[in-house]
Amino acid sequence: MTEFIQQLINGLSLGAIYALIALGYTMVYGILRFINFAHGDVYMVGAYMGFYLAPSIMRGFGQKSIASGIVILVAAMAICAALGIVIERLVYRPLRNRPKLTVLITAIGVSLFLENAGQYVFGPDPKAFPDIINDHAIEGLGDLTVTVSQVLVLAVTVALLLLLTWIVKKTKLGMAMRALSFNPVAASLMGINNDVVIAFTFGLGSALAAAAGILFAISYPSIDPLMGILPGLKAFVAAVLGGIGNIPGAALGGVLIGLVETLVVGYSDTIHIPSTYRDAVAFAILILILLFKPTGLLGAADREKV
């Protein structure tokens, strides 16, 4: 039983990271009906921003202090938000009225560009992410091993999810996002500047991806320019699993993918699936959803407009 709870905790903190990335896929899909395949690479850039900013921020705000952690997180989120907005402005906006396939292929191009530019600028070799928190196992939990970083991942994810929910439900821009996702023409008849709302959505999604990058790097402190590929794909699966375009669905999908992946690895002997197949798990899930419930767990039936 302890073993199972342990796996759940591990799975939850991995799933939280997928969830944060999945939100960006699903929000952009919600308003533009296309999959931004460069999104996983924004997550990678987020981790690198943390890597480069951490030393100087910690000099200013204290080594391994809470303040430093928050400033690093917010700075990486802000930079990636700007990156997302620039990508949309320079690449996707000129293609806005082109066939979806054109945009999709372009997104793959942007992804390859970021991965290769990352290798050029950051160097191709993995880098050790600096210790920005005092990571250790929390004492007094018996046989359970819960680390500070795991708690942090969950706490930050929950906080960001609450913030996002508030933005989407309560703010004017959030309402405009929902309106635009339902009917862009009607939205512009309200006086909504669709370009602004679309840019905002890219910024929001990219900021969440950056947060995921930092949280990942705190938990698994080795980063490299291709680190975004697999989590990006898994988060995409998570978004499809939850129902693409559906925000709570993306969060739920991320957590589920993280849990299933961790459980498959944890119980690989019992279920006779080698733990080296961990990355195949998400894709097996993708095939199953596409076969049996293409609209995803929380998706509405009228959303199949790829």
């Binding site: 996702s181 339902f182 512009s188 309200m190 006086g191």
Partner: protein
Amino acid sequence: MLEIKDLQVCYGSIMALQGVTITVPTGAIVTLIGANGAGKTTVLRAVSGILKATAGAILFNGEEITNHPPHRIVGMGVSQSPEGRMVFANLTVRENLLMGAYLRKDKRHFAADFDYLFNVFPRLKEREKQVAGTLSGGEQQMLAIGRALMSKPKCLMLDEPSLGIAPLLVKTIFSKIVEINKQLSLTVLLVEQNANLALEISSYGYVLETGRIILEAPSAELRKNEKVRGAYLGGA
């Protein structure tokens, strides 16, 4: 107030409007009638900036607004309740109305405007917290009109408010349009296939046929016109 001069709009190589001229004086209700496919919606979409005019000009209070982005046109005081209503089915009635007020900065006046709208359309008050997708067609039409009014327009354009709505409710909605026009001294451009009612509440009318205005006159005269009676008023 609103002047459409020699407007041309194309869909690809098809010219849907071939030089349309319409004038809507301040405070008036002017109607644009015509059969399905005549180009009525195209006129309103071009005025709102959703479709590009290939030639001609659109002036609002003397200022040229041709091919301005839609949000600028709303900002200047021209709003529209589009064909098919297009309410945001995923938003509540209240949120839909707030979207109508998107460009307004005077939040403290919203409460009074909600009161006014709920007074005109009590059904909207009852449904305030409901998701708009659950409303009946007539209620959605009221919401679409209310939403367009929330931008505090000087000129309101209505695209077939009678479309797909029970006849009794259509009568109510048309009387509300007159009421709003009087109370807010709002200029109205009403697009309709239901020529009968439209000519009853308007002061001036235009008849559009395959992208051209073929007839224009005070509404009372149009109602007596043989051609209009034959083609648009059910021949009675």
